[in-house]
Amino acid sequence: MGTALTDSPWGVMLILLPLAGGMICFIWPRMAQVLGLVTVFSVALSVVGLAWQMLDTGVYRHAVGGWGAPLGIDLYADGLSLLMLLVTAMVGFAVSVYSAAFFEREDATRFWPLWLFLLAALNALFLSADIFNIYVTFELMGLAAVALVALAGGRDALGGAMRYLLAALLGSLAYLLGVALLYHGFGTVDIALLAERVDASPVVWAALGLMGTGLLLKTAVFPLHFWLPPAHAHAPAPVSALLSALVVKASFYILLRLWLEVFEPLIGSEGVHTLLGLLGAMAVLWGSVQALRQTRLKLLIAYSTVAQIGYMFLAFPLAAAAGVAAWNAAAYLAFSHALAKAAMFLAAGNLLRFGGHDRIADLDRVVQRLPLTAAAFALAGVSIMGLPPSGGFIGKWLMLEAALVQGRWDLVAVIILGGLLAAAYIFKVLGYAFTQADVVHESRAVPASMEWAALLLALGAVLLGFLAVPVLSLVGIGDPFGASEIRP
């Protein structure tokens, strides 16, 4: 267990660096910007280091402080967590570059510490191997995110932040109760040990119910999505990019991790995953229709997040038979959605700064006056819609393949309809980007680095369409989806 400890503890670096960076930024606000960028860059490097190491030694395992599993906190990283770490690093770096130019003096001093704590929480969450540690990182992430949402001040932002905080606390407390029940039942919190001991007893059912609802609340699936749109829409652009791309995915990751390992014996039962599938389908349709009705750009993108999250939940019913293919599809959709959604929110931020408003109807010839941002939004839209040359298309293709193999016509219809609705609201925006608005606004220059950050993320989402084979092989390290355990 301690074998990987000696040569290079990348995992630990991933957590310590942002924490240290955050604290120093807090103490020394003048240097916050530079320090923040350096920290995020070094975190990205260490993720690459970790990936490199995992490519040859397989799963990464590290016992913090040298203590063993039952008592000590273990760090564990397999393909799935590596993918999420990679996403966090990429989106984090782009958003940091963007926010270096986005925030004025005093906002910047508050933004960097919070963002680095959020980064630390995310990395810790993806690396943690026991469910209590997940609770702690889950809570830290929630608080940092709420603080970031409230950063902009103003009535809507504060309202959104408050509602987000209440939802987050409720979710994590429910999760904690679930942890308590599981610990009482099986005497351990470590995921691997739990996986062997768990059986289909009422305690496990209760724990699944509690932890499930908590996580669904934090992932903003259809009925419990009320807090996401106001929070994401009224937060400053880089923050809403982080929230939509990473924070929401983190709770999905936890649900996935628990579902695959801890609650594995319960998977056989029809009820649960059809319920999740139904919620996902409703989310796709409801989110897309709502997005179509919005007149403001950031609200439209927030509702689009609700819809895209729904897509990932469709993988649960499909995984019953299609196994690895469905999970690969969900992981790929998560990856491409993160990149595309972050690019979209950054582009929306640019438009907001340029025109002083984000009303869709009044986007005045943006394609000509802000070409890079318009291109970023368009390319990100291509990935969200799932049109061929993009990562979204690969995800949609794998999902469709899994659904068609099982003959699940209902899910096929939802996927296709979702794609069409997504096309409808993306092109609604693009249509107005070409035409002349009737009332002309004076425009404010947008720094080049902000435009290029959005464009690079969008290009990443599109290029992902061609990197399916390497990425899926990366995800396969350590067999996270337990291809062998789940019945083919």
């Binding site: 702690v136 603080a147 009535r155 504060l158 905080l165 409720l170 407390l173 308590a180 610990y183």
Partner: protein, 104 residues
Amino acid sequence: MSASFLYALVGIGLFSLSLYGLIVHAHLLRKILALNVMGSSIFLVLVALAKRTNEAPPDAVPHAMVITGIVVAVSATALALTLMLKLTAETGRAELPDDQRESH
């Protein structure tokens, strides 16, 4: 054993009570209080279930969890209170924005 079981039941009861309180009350302070009660109810459950067998000393791990939980709860409450104060300063009422529109 039955006593600890009783305490666990009380914890679960408290949890559902505070859940009800959180959802029903519009005023933010009541909501924050409800959250605190919910937190302590979970800690009660944890501590109650920690005593596994009659003779052996109670298991230490849940207690560690409770301590961490308390720390987390304190910081969360602090953040919630400051947000509430800012919100009331901004909107004049200690309630969530769209709740305000519904209530009057």
